[in-house]
C-alpha cells in the first residue's frame, strides 16, 4: 500500500528543463570567465605598476641599453610567456 502510494507516478520529461540547465551552465561559465579575466587584468596592471615604481631607473636604463635584436628577443619571450599562461589556464578559458 505505502509502496504503491509513494512510487513516482509521473515521468517528468521536459525539453525546457534541459534548456534551462544548459543556459545556467552557460551563464555560470561566463560569470567565471569574467571574474577570472578581471582579476588577471588587475594582477597584470598592479604588477606592472609595482615593477615600474620599484625599479624605474634600472629598468629603463636596461631597456635603453638593449640593441634591436635583444629587444626583439625580449618581446618574443614575453609573448611566449603570455601564451604559456593561456595554455596553463586552458581549462578555465575553454568554452563549455
Amino acid at each position: 500500500m505505502i509502496e504503491k502510494l509513494l512510487a513516482y507516478h509521473q515521468t517528468l520529461v521536459s525539453p525546457e528543463f534541459v534548456e534551462r540547465v544548459m543556459q545556467r551552465i552557460e551563464k555560470r561559465f561566463k560569470q567565471r570567465s569574467m571574474i577570472l579575466g578581471l582579476f588577471t587584468l588587475l594582477g597584470i596592471v598592479t604588477g606592472s605598476i609595482g615593477f615600474l615604481l620599484l625599479w624605474p631607473d634600472n629598468f629603463l636604463g636596461y631597456l635603453n641599453g638593449l640593441d634591436q635584436s635583444s629587444l626583439l628577443l625580449l618581446s618574443v619571450l614575453l609573448v611566449g610567456f603570455g601564451a604559456f599562461m593561456v595554455w596553463l589556464m586552458n581549462d578555465e578559458f575553454e568554452s563549455p
Binding site: M1, H9, V21, M22
Partner: protein, 183 residues
C-alpha cells in the same frame, strides 16, 4: 546519436571533449528522477524543487571529472541533490514548505494526483525520514545505496525508514489517501 550511448560513454565525452550535447543527454535521462526526488524532499514546492534540480545538474557538470564510476551515475546525482536540498533547508527557518496550490478535487490527472498525494504525505515526515523513504520506496534504492547517499549509518537508514513507514501507515489508516485534503 547520443541516445544509444551508455552513461559511461556520455560522461567520457563530457570530460574529454567538453561535449555539451552529451551532457544535455544525461540531463534528459535523469531529469525525471532528480526532479521527482526534489519534489518529494520539498514536499511539493515545485519551484524550489526545480531550482535544486537545476543546481544539481550544474554542479554535476562542474564536478563530472571527479565521478569515479564506483556507484551509479544516478546515485551520484541523488547525492548532489540531497546535499543541495540540505543547503536550502538549512538556510530556511522552517522545514515545512507551504505550497498548497494543488487541490485533489480539481485535478483530473490520476498520476499527478497520486504524486501530489505522496508529496503531501511527505510533510508529515522529518527530513531524514523523507529522504530515506523516498530513496527506498520511490527511487527503489537499496539500504546501502541510501546510506552512501545520505551519509547515515546503515542501521540509522533502516530505523528512519521504519519510523517513516509506521507514521505514513497510521496516517493512511486514519484517513484513506483519496480523502486526504491539503493542510
Amino acid at each position: 546519436m547520443s541516445s544509444h550511448s551508455s552513461d559511461g560513454q556520455l560522461i567520457t565525452r563530457v570530460v574529454t571533449v567538453n561535449d555539451q550535447e552529451a551532457f544535455a543527454e544525461l540531463v534528459q535521462r535523469y531529469q525525471s528522477a532528480i526532479r521527482q526526488f526534489c519534489r518529494r524532499l520539498t514536499a511539493g514546492d515545485y519551484f524550489l524543487a526545480d531550482d535544486i534540480a537545476q543546481e544539481t545538474f550544474w554542479l554535476a557538470y562542474q564536478k563530472i571529472s571527479t565521478f569515479q564510476g564506483k556507484g551509479s551515475f544516478s546515485s551520484w546525482l541523488h547525492t548532489i541533490a540531497y546535499r543541495q536540498f540540505l543547503k536550502h533547508a538549512g538556510s530556511q527557518s522552517t522545514e515545512v514548505y507551504e505550497d498548497d496550490s494543488h487541490t485533489l478535487d480539481e485535478s483530473t490527472d490520476k498520476a499527478m494526483e497520486a504524486d501530489i498525494m505522496a508529496e503531501k504525505l511527505m510533510k508529515q515526515l522529518s527530513l531524514a525520514e523523507r529522504v530515506t523513504i523516498t530513496l527506498s520506496y520511490s527511487a527503489g534504492m537499496s539500504h546501502q545505496e541510501i546510506a552512501d547517499i545520505t551519509g547515515f549509518a546503515l542501521g540509522t537508514v533502516k530505523s528512519h525508514i521504519k519510523r517513516g513507514k509506521d507514521k505514513l501507515t497510521s496516517i493512511v489508516q486514519q484517513k484513506p489517501p483519496l480523502t486526504l485534503t491539503p493542510q
